[in-house]
């Protein structure tokens, strides 16, 4: 029973990782690609780690799997936000079907008059 559950979790995780790869190839834009890769890969890694912890229910495996899962859930969101912010600030072109862009100036023009040169 545990064996079947673990196998199902492994298959679900691999399917989600494959969907992340397909999304990165097929999506039209930097931002849509980023959200596809981040969400699907985080959930896929979580499923794989849950399958591993079910298959080898020993202390050393479970502790390592939990630490990898916690670290990935914390950092992948931060990494995606930082990449998206850098892409938006550096004027990456949006998809031509984008309906709304709520920033006051155009994305391809980073507003040279703004005195932001510190940091």
């Amino acid at each position: 029973m545990i064996e079947w559950l673990s196998g199902g979790l492994f298959f679900a995780g691999a399917t989600l990782a494959l969907l992340a790869g397909v999304g990165v190839v097929r999506m039209p834009d930097v931002f849509t690609r980023m959200q596809a890769s981040t969400k699907a890969s985080t959930l896929g890694l979580g499923c794989l780690l849950a399958g591993l912890a079910l298959r080898h229910p020993e202390m050393s495996f479970v502790v390592r799997a939990a630490s990898i899962a916690a670290f990935m859930m914390l950092t992948s969101a931060v990494a995606a936000h930082v990449i998206a912010r850098a892409a938006a600030l550096s004027g990456t072109p949006l998809w031509k079907g984008t309906l709304i862009d709520e920033r006051p100036e155009s994305p391809s023009r980073p507003d040279p008059a703004a005195p932001e040169s510190g940091r």
């Binding site: 673990s6 990782a17 494959l18 992340a20 990165v24 690609r33 890969s41 990898i68 990456t92």
Partner: protein
């Protein structure tokens, strides 16, 4: 059940890494390539988890922790470089 699920998992992960590598080669802008490198790091960690499950070896999980950490630091450094370059 258990003797074909893990090879199937590894094959699917390798296929995903191949697709992501296509985007890394072809990506029109630099943020595309940074996203592809980040996803390849996550897929390597996934592959190491599957390998640890197949061989019951804990050392692969330690390697996975280190690769996840280095991939995060590299992604943040690339993003900071992009931000400074664009503005």
């Amino acid at each position: 059940m258990s003797n074909f699920v893990l090879p199937l998992t590894m094959t699917m992960l390798a296929l995903a890494a191949l697709l992501t590598f296509t985007r890394l080669v072809r990506g029109p802008t630099l943020p595309d390539r940074v996203i592809a490198i980040d996803l390849i790091g996550v897929l390597i960690v996934c592959l190491l988890v599957a390998l640890a499950a197949a061989t019951a070896e804990q050392a692969f999980l330690d390697v996975g922790i280190v690769i996840a950490l280095i991939s995060f630091v590299g992604t943040v450094a690339y993003a900071r470089y992009l931000e400074r370059e664009g503005s």
